[in-house]
Symmetry: C2
Subunit: 411 residues, 2 copies
Amino acid sequence: MRTLIDRIGQLLVVPAGPVRGPDMDRVPVLRDAALVIEGERIAWFGERADTPGGEYEHRIDAQGGAVLPGFVDCHTHLVFAGAREGEFVQRIRGKSYIEILEAGGGIHVTVEAVRAASEEQLLAGALARLRRMLALGTTTAEVKSGYGLRPEDELKMLRVARRLRGMQAVELVGTYLAAHTIPKEYAGRADEYLDAMLADSILETLYSGDLAEFADVFCERGAFDLAQAERFLTECGRHGLRAKLHADQITNTGATKLGVRLGAVSVDHLEEADESAIAALAGSETIPVLLPGCTYFLNGKPPAARRMIEAGLPVALATDCNPGSSMIESMPLIISIACTRLRMTPMEAIVAATANAAAAIGRANRIGAIAVGHQADLLILDRPSADFIAYETGRNPVRMVIKRGRAAWTA
Amino acid sequence: MRTLIDRIGQLLVVPAGPVRGPDMDRVPVLRDAALVIEGERIAWFGERADTPGGEYEHRIDAQGGAVLPGFVDCHTHLVFAGAREGEFVQRIRGKSYIEILEAGGGIHVTVEAVRAASEEQLLAGALARLRRMLALGTTTAEVKSGYGLRPEDELKMLRVARRLRGMQAVELVGTYLAAHTIPKEYAGRADEYLDAMLADSILETLYSGDLAEFADVFCERGAFDLAQAERFLTECGRHGLRAKLHADQITNTGATKLGVRLGAVSVDHLEEADESAIAALAGSETIPVLLPGCTYFLNGKPPAARRMIEAGLPVALATDCNPGSSMIESMPLIISIACTRLRMTPMEAIVAATANAAAAIGRANRIGAIAVGHQADLLILDRPSADFIAYETGRNPVRMVIKRGRAAWTA
């Protein structure tokens, strides 16, 4: 099947990630462009005048709108049950995240809800979220476990994500986040908890069952320390799961440097990452994933995005969609917050949300770019410039979403 | 015509505005409720078990969703032409709003675009915006002139707003903002400019032609000073236009106190309003309208909402929808920003966006409340609590919008 996307007002030729530092703002832009899809892949792009001849089974008129790669939401907790709107209100009334957690609220509320939920219930909730996310331009999303905290419930979450792959258009990537927090029944016994969650039988099921590609740990005071994080990720790594870390979010624990030392694919959050953490990342292949939704939602300190870009890092962005600290599904809104709060330019934010986010889930050679041979995951906007994604805050600028060469959503 | 809204999970019984200070957080909530509409008005509401019998021509099943008054967006510049996404990017690169203005950018770009636009072009742009705003729950909006800055172009903007009243469901209220900025051709001659814009013929046309109910002035260094603001508002007042002010936004000019002294209906912005301004408001009928979109968009200082609520003020909220400093159409997003950045509770923000916003446009006795005899402008949410408006950031929680007793939009 051969499809022509014609009359593209602005084609953002985002290169394959990782795109580092100042290069994030130097993406070539073609005006009055066209793009050819063959099967699932980009076969050609260039100026309209040079459009290859021949037969096209489908022609899509971009009507002068901007075209860019589909968004890659590389850090989400989108399989969950329940809601925590009450906690959101308590926080506004002055309670801290830690106070709410210590009062038995916070993540434990979601853990109980997820344990109580059937696979079908989790599936229905996540499916509705994915439908909305697709309409907002997300064509690939990472999905973490981490609200089960028991072998059967962690596997349940990841089975839901696997089932969702065949049910809707958003490509999903599983991450085993058993080390999200210490469940109540293991209070004070983090190592024993990890023993239970690192059983060979679980790790083999994850990898061979195509349930997870990554392992992730919340390395933070009150959760898992550096030694526990290293042990968890190393054990998972022996079973083929590549490392990710929730790092330096609330306190500077040194988790970013641990991630670099372990060759982690990404370190995520980094609100409290210091210059030494940035220096460690600069000499590595590890992707720093920033989550501006948390900055917005918790009214917290933004991560030092500008400093990281100056240091040459390939910054990535994601929603961190979760019921506690970032109840945001929209990549356009995340891009907007990255611009207003983290002072990234719209182009930097778009590269962070596409090419670099793809690198953060080990897919930079296939998605997140406008490149011949890359998967045709594309967004056609109803505006002539991609700057409108950030500028028209809260409005969905997406007119059409193309996934693997096919129209997956239209306005 | 008699309509029953049944199976309301949570009915927010917002009283008629102004609702002052701590009362904003003390709105009665009825669970398992119903509401009866007769014609355009609310005829009854209460517990489901007490629903009046008799014939209903229409029955709407709220499916357990929350019901609240439609949003009143009491400060917008939604009739405009062009876009200023480039300026948004320049600002991220470090240029200040004032630097952009002085380089010939900023508001002057919009003024040129509006002067060049036909009435039909302005109408088409505003109509598209209003369609999106209605879907997000806005049932009434104020619309300012202020991008024409010539008699014929100021009148053109307000004629567009008047024509839009008959073309779509959102109720529109016109405000004459000729004193928005000094047009280039009058540089250094602000008083002469005001002479031209205060001609009797214009002011009579505004009032008798039903083009404007309010007059507004941007009282700020580089725009109009206190004496000019007073003169403009007093002259307009003689022709029936009630006073509003853009006050204490960038610098503390004393405009809030001027507004109180003049008996203004509202003073808007207030990012730099100090304790003496708050004290002046506390003894007045003037409504403080806060515009969190500017805080978000310009990454600026939030107005002291908590302090104002403690001082007993009836705080209102609006989008300030405009292409320069708040390109936001969504009242749900404004409510969310008011919660995360201004630390208002969702209930306070909802009261500010309904009852108090209605008071800010002189309509508190007819809209913005759940009260028998009030106009039936209602939102039915797809969530059981109105807290979700703020909590699920960037998602539209509105399932149905009812305007004057009729379904105006459904998801």
